[in-house]
């Protein structure tokens, strides 16, 4: 009946690009997981309950992370022997017509993003219960955003980068505004959206200019058109490519919130739901840095002398300004926002070092990767504690709200202390080695001035973290506060709420609700922050754990393609 009569036109089918599906699994699991979750919860309302989406998301992140192992084994072997995947015509270690790069760097960043998704899903579970929100949308958007992040980190073509960036960002904008009952959340989402869209515009215009200058959007093509390639005039269209690089850098600087493109960060971090901020500060930022590193360290490598000073300027401004402005804050989420700007500066310094043509390059790339991992874990954990302390309504983020945390929940205070010390770069925590590696790489590159600036910034920012720690541990001498806590203690003590019911028993007063939240945090959230603290400590005590992976991934970044 249908189309019984085939047309007799003789047409030659175009061959599709070869796709090595087995190497795409880490990305596919995240993306398909998100799609599956939204479909299943749409048609089976029973599964919309709060535990299923959280468990599903954790499992998806875990599965994606585990699927990295075979990919790593295959990629690592190829890195060593210098073989190719796919047809081989589109450059080594790239799939789908050179659009998607699979190498050690991709694998590493994907792993970090999976960690971020896993921890954030645990945090979200408790948060959504406490706020009385439901809906699998949060998890779906997070998975989508994460898959976009993986795409951005693996993109071997500027167009694919842009796709990844948009998938990453658009989901994040929505997540920031998803707490529909809080005006602050809406405001944060809107600000994030407007500024993010601006950044995307910069990015896209940069792509257009680079394409105009080099005639290619693939990273290989841009690299090959560079002055290093034989037989090319070093100054071909150089103003065009400089403008293109500048715009791309601005686009990325917005995404990773580097000074002076950081203005959105404190407002958005303050207003957006705390677990979402944990993801934005970790997963989204990591993906942004991965994209930045891949595009600049590989495609624009021939122009390294041109863009390196710009990176250095952004980095120094971010570290110093981020640290200084953080000191002026009283809202802990704002403080942490500035601290994340400060961290962004350190990671930019690592990229600066990695751009070095000599020995500093490898060390810089290693420092960047280590920093990404350490930062993801500790920032997720820190915002996790902020989520718990924020209480119902997610509004208690003043420094005063952390007073006496060591008394009301010593475990939470201890975990927070570890995470904050790590952020400050205190020895025996991962943060120390992260900063140490960055400064070491700068030193071996000969950039002593930048190294000095980094150390200065580290000292400045340490004060900020100490302020929070002091607030948690030193019960202040103000009588009023003491009395307050006594009263609240009495309220909560009389109640003796069992842990499981802790979140549902809050009708008495806002004070009591906060206390319940702090006294008996959601077990999943507690698990997440404890995991984060544990990893921070382990990485701090055994910094060379899996050191081979780090150096292989780093060399993949520098050799990519």
């Amino acid at each position: 009946m249908i189309a019984l009569v085939a047309q007799d036109t003789q047409t030659v089918a175009l061959p599709g690009p070869p796709v090595v599906w087995s190497l795409l699994w880490p990305f596919l699991i995240l993306a398909v997981g998100g799609v599956l979750l939204v479909t299943v919860t749409s048609v089976v309302p029973v599964l919309r309950g709060r535990s299923f989406p959280a468990a599903f998301t954790c499992l998806t992140a875990l599965a994606s992370g585990l699927s990295l192992i075979p990919v790593w084994q295959r990629v690592d072997r190829l890195d060593l022997v210098g073989g190719t995947i796919g047809s081989g015509t589109e450059g080594p270690r790239s799939l789908v017509s050179g659009a998607y790069a699979v190498d050690g760097f991709t694998v590493f960043v994907t792993g970090v993003i999976c960690v971020s998704v896993f921890l954030t899903a645990l945090l979200l579970d408790g948060y959504l219960r406490r706020e009385g929100l439901d809906g699998p949308e949060w998890y779906v958007l997070m998975l989508m955003s994460a898959s976009g992040g993986v795409l951005l980190a693996s993109a071997n073509d500027l167009i694919v980068s842009f796709l990844g960036l948009e998938i990453l960002s658009i989901a994040a904008y929505v997540m920031a505004a998803l707490h529909l009952r809080r005006a602050e959340s809406q405001e944060a989402g809107f600000k994030y959206f407007v500024l993010g869209a601006l950044a995307s515009a910069f990015f896209l215009y940069g792509i257009a200019l680079v394409y105009g200058a080099t005639g290619s959007t693939t990273l290989q093509g841009i690299f090959a058109a560079g002055p290093n390639a034989a037989g090319l005039d070093p100054r071909t269209d150089s103003s065009l490519i400089l403008a293109g690089m500048a715009l791309l850098l601005v686009g990325f600087a917005f995404k990773v919130s580097a000074v002076p493109f950081h203005f959105w960060a404190p407002d958005v971090y303050q207003g957006a739901p705390s677990p979402v901020v944990a993801f934005m500060a970790s997963g989204v930022k990591v993906a942004g840095f991965a994209g930045l590193a891949r595009i600049f360290l590989y495609a624009f490598q021939p122009y390294w002398a041109d863009w390196r000073p710009a990176i250095a300027a952004l980095a120094v401004l971010s570290t110093i300004v981020g640290g200084l402005l953080a000191l002026a804050q009283r809202n802990v989420k704002r403080m942490l926002a500035y601290s994340s700007i400060n961290h962004a500066g350190f990671m930019l310094l690592a990229i600066h070092a990695a751009a070095s043509p000599d020995d500093g390059g490898q060390r810089g790339a290693e420092a960047l990767l280590f920093y990404l991992l350490a930062y993801t874990v500790m920032v997720t954990g820190t915002f996790g504690v902020a989520t718990i302390v924020g209480g119902r309504g997610d509004g208690r983020h003043d420094l005063d709200d952390y007073r006496g945390l060591s008394r009301s929940n010593p475990l939470l205070a201890g975990v927070m202390a570890i995470l904050l010390f790590s952020q400050a770069g205190v020895p025996f925590t991962s943060g120390f080695f992260a900063k140490f590696r960055v400064i070491g790489a700068l030193a071996s590159d000969g950039s002593y001035a930048l190294g000095g600036a980094a150390m200065l910034a580290a000292v400045i920012s340490a004060v900020l973290y100490l302020r929070i720690v002091v607030s948690m541990f030193l019960i202040d001498n103000g009588e009023a506060h003491e009395a307050d806590h006594e009263a609240v203690d009495a309220v909560a003590g009389g109640r003796a709420a069992p842990e499981a019911e802790g979140d549902t028993l809050v009708e008495a007063s806002p004070e009591a609700s906060v206390l319940t939240s702090v006294r008996a945090p959601a077990p999943t959230a507690l698990l997440a922050v404890c995991l984060a603290a544990a990893v921070t400590l382990v990485l701090g005590l055994l910094p060379d754990l899996g050191g081979g992976i780090l150096s292989d991934a780093a060399s993949a970044l520098l050799l990519a393609g």
Binding site: A3, L4, V5, T9, T11, V43
Partner: protein
Amino acid sequence: MSLLALGEPYLSDGVDLGDVVLTVVKVVVAFVVLLVSVMLMVWFERKVISRLQNRIGPNVAGPFGLLQTLADGMKLFFKEDLIPERSDRFVFQLAPYLSVVPAFLTFILVPIAGDFSDGKDGSVSIAGRQFFLQVADVPVGILFFLAMSSIGVYGVMLAGWSSGSKYPLLGSVRASAQAISYEAALGLSLASVLLISGTLSTNEIVQVQAGEGFRGIIPNWNLITTGFVPFGIFLIAGTAELNRPPFDMVEAEQELVGGFHTEYSSIRFAMFYLAEFMNTVTMSAIIVTLFFGGPAGPNFGVLPGWLWGFVWFFLKLLVFLFTFVWFRATLPRLRYDQLMDLGWKLLIPLALGWLMILAGIRVAQSGGFGITDSTQVDTGIVLVVGLAIGVVAALLLSSAVRTSRQDRLHRHGLVEVAPVFELDGGAPAGEGHH
């Protein structure tokens, strides 16, 4: 069919004076044909409706009342033209243009005659110039049709919005929601036609359909080669796009007085009226072109070949003009939510699914899958798998609809009740007293 060969042969290499003259002649002929056809269509509709309602209909002006439309049109010139004081004057005056001009332009796509038998391309030669018997065979053909129908929506929407009155406003909001809802279904069902034809040009779509059909008896019309469903969707969506009954929510007299053109009078009203009927004629012609082979048909001699094309085209057109009138006389108007449900929850998914299955079958027929050695076995496999996926998709969709309904019931504190007829049947089960 290379891309460069698309379009009118006489315009493909430069334009000289003769080409311009030919173009002007074609345009003027098309213009006159359109206006006359609208005149006749209005008469036809009134007459048919009357007969279906056991009335006589117009029979005074001219033979059989043929000139009734003309008389009505003339009358409107002498009516007072009012522009309501609360209206947005500029937009109010612009809207009729936006409605009537696209209605004219859509007609360029329709090949109204031409000899398509034996693989001919339907062109005619006069004074060494080869041309098609349609106003213009633009390469983007079908896209032009969609563009014009979208612009037509602006006319209706702005007319209602600029009137500064509530009934037109409601009518125009409904109109735009309805039009864009059905445009998606319309576009998706069109995609099936494009899949079979492999071209956007209406002339070539007709050429493909003029080819030899199944066993030489059944014509190779897209109606059959796309498997009937896209035609059904197109007919329904097209009726909705035209705002004709049973989808005439836009001017539902009982609720909205006259809908979007309530505030229009005199010649401005005439323009909307004209556009509406012109669109009906054009839509019928487009349906004939896309699904029923347009002017393609057997050539029995006696008349010149191109005239046979016109005869076939006219007969097919008449069927659809009658169908639209028949719809109006027979079908009660849908309620607004039924209309939107039909469009979004049935037609769009159906059109999309059908397109995918059709494409799968076509690729399998050309050996694209290569599952087995035989393309026929491949086609069978693809058909079975495609239908299975279709069933799963339908299940997903229906459970999504159920979920949404349940949520709504829950939100409004309602319960789905089975009617309780038990009046005095003793105690309800499970209580066990007495």
